[in-house]
Symmetry: C2
Subunit: 347 residues, 2 copies
């Protein structure tokens, strides 16, 4: 890869002239300009944009850290690619580029983040998959690196985040099922320490209590967030002595495996068991009976994350005066066939 | 974010002493070491690894360029995350990190790549989604940036690549269907200029010709590679005057939409129409009847890509003496129920 110095040496003209020719300045004669551009093309000249950036302490690059766990990989999760488009639409206005930083599954996310920051690749970070206690938040705060988190955490009382409304989804789902006559409602949660699992279960529990339904720990099924997890969840449901009449899923693709396992046992979703999925995903749209689930625009979520991040950065703050506040992102119920029956008729 | 200079100023001791304390050198007294480490923690000191790298012209970072097209996003494609783990396992041995560079859907991939190279973020690139004519390959070759492509292209006669065996899959699928008595076999191909579509159709055509079956262009269905594309493909199949008895898919998730549309019309995959999918994906594993498709280890593919890339880089070449050659990656048929019937009995 050639820089301006090599170009100048190759052409035997001054660096200043090469620079003026490359930048289209008028004080370079036609023939010289032609020679410089031809040589640049031939030698594979690449303008060095990093010099300027380093002097300014800016790379013009934002990092999005994702966990490339086995679970994510198997899930074929498009979640982050969906968010990416929205982020890029905001960053493009400021000629900022977005890189994705996939943390290997066998590496501690905190150590990984420290290394990536030490590499001085990015000006700011977006982190996701926040844990209940998440040392990355302390680290970024202390190191004064602008960041925004997709997900809450107990680790700091005050940091920029947007999170999906897990409480709202669990609450809405329980209310809906109770209105349909259900009293024995199962719920799934991740087997990890992800913060969202705690929010989801807490809200489910509170909603049950509001209706004087006793919380039964055996109805909380901790499982991997994947199709296979859904299959396993159905398996566990079917083994329960007193089988629930409804189940609420925390992850959209679980529905695929859950349906499969139920049908293998002759249990029909939407007739023998009410199912409410989580996010409306393209995959789940092809399920039969159609899945009751919640709609969210990942693009809009990406836009909001991007705006919130820039609102924390001195160079861009002025453009985003109203974007600094934390957001609990609402999801809208899309009723399907999977819970469209009255349990009274069934029992 | 604080560097070593700020630390030294804060503590009012020399940069040299701070450096020796941070690096655990023995000639620093206990108390000073303790003070330095405490201040480093408190002020969020981050070692600058970029200085050394820039002097050496090395960033120790490898870029994986992916296209974040609307299609990819809707697909929830886990393909690249799967490959990522394998790549990282190779790169970790050399303390190299992998970044994913998502090219926005509204940007020309060639221009995007040029900009990212100008940012001097990465030492080497992995590109994917190669087009028939792909200017990125010329650009990287000319700029002498080490790279490997996941996918062939007509753009250069000699560059490092690994590609899936699209010809082998199409050939195997046609032979299998003909052995089961099929003569009227449809095939899907991407609506884009992706090189793989051409390879797939050419091989299908040659296999038919081997058996004296006339190539019928109406049986080649050009469609988006997604669930929705599969739904549309089934729709078009059902409209054909003389309906085919079998269909070969070029993308695994198409099967989900295809099944749905067929079933809506009372056409049962594996009984009324033989279906052979492409890659064995977790999603497709839950289809009923089970899909005949082809197995591939994305992890192993990532390992091979990583080795091939390092084999082109002077600093690592010696470790990978046998990894320089292009590979057509084989896929292994996994027979399912979706084509398990004899068409003779049907007609």
């Amino acid at each position: 890869m050639k820089g301006i110095r090599q170009l100048a040496e190759h052409l035997n003209i001054s660096i200043g002239t090469v620079s003026r020719a490359l930048n289209g300045k008028p004080d370079v004669n036609q023939e010289t300009r032609r020679r410089v551009l031809a040589a640049a093309e031939e030698l594979g000249y690449v303008a060095n944009q990093s010099g300027r950036s380093l002097r300014q302490g800016e790379t013009k690059v934002i990092g999005l850290m994702i966990e490339s766990s086995k679970e994510t990989v198997e899930n074929a999760d498009n979640f982050f690619l969906g968010v990416t488009s929205g982020l890029q639409s905001v960053f493009a206005r400021h000629k900022l580029d977005l890189l994705m930083l996939p943390c290997p599954s066998d590496e501690d996310p905190h150590e990984y983040l420290k290394r990536m920051v030490a590499r001085r690749i990015v000006d700011a970070m977006i982190i996701s998959d926040t844990q209940r206690v998440d040392r990355r938040i302390d680290f970024l705060s202390r190191a004064k690196i602008p960041f925004v988190a997709l997900g809450r955490s107990l680790s700091a009382s005050n940091f920029p985040w947007i999170d999906l409304d897990f409480e709202g989804v669990a609450d809405h789902a329980v209310e809906r099922l109770i209105a349909l006559g259900h009293r024995r409602i199962a719920i799934t949660a991740p087997s990890s320490e992800a913060n969202l699992g705690y929010l989801f279960i807490d809200s489910y529990r509170r909603a049950l209590e509001r209706h004087d339904i006793l919380f039964d720990p055996s109805l909380v099924i901790r499982i991997r967030s994947s199709e296979q997890g859904g299959y396993q969840a159905a398996h566990e449901l079917l083994l329960l002595e007193e089988r629930p009449t409804a189940v609420i899923l925390i992850y959209e693709l679980m529905a695929i495996g859950l349906y499969r396992r139920l049908m293998e046992s002759g249990v029909m979703p939407g007739r023998d068991l009410a199912v409410i999925g989580f996010r409306d995903a393209p995959r789940a749209r092809f399920l039969q009976p159609s899945l009751s689930c919640f709609r969210i625009s990942l693009y809009d979520l990406g836009v909001a994350l991007g705006r919130m991040l820039l609102a924390t950065m001195p160079a861009y703050r002025e453009f985003y005066p109203g974007d600094g506040r934390n957001i609990i992102w609402p999801l809208e119920l899309m009723p399907g066939e999977s819970d469209a029956f009255d349990v009274g008729a069934m029992v």
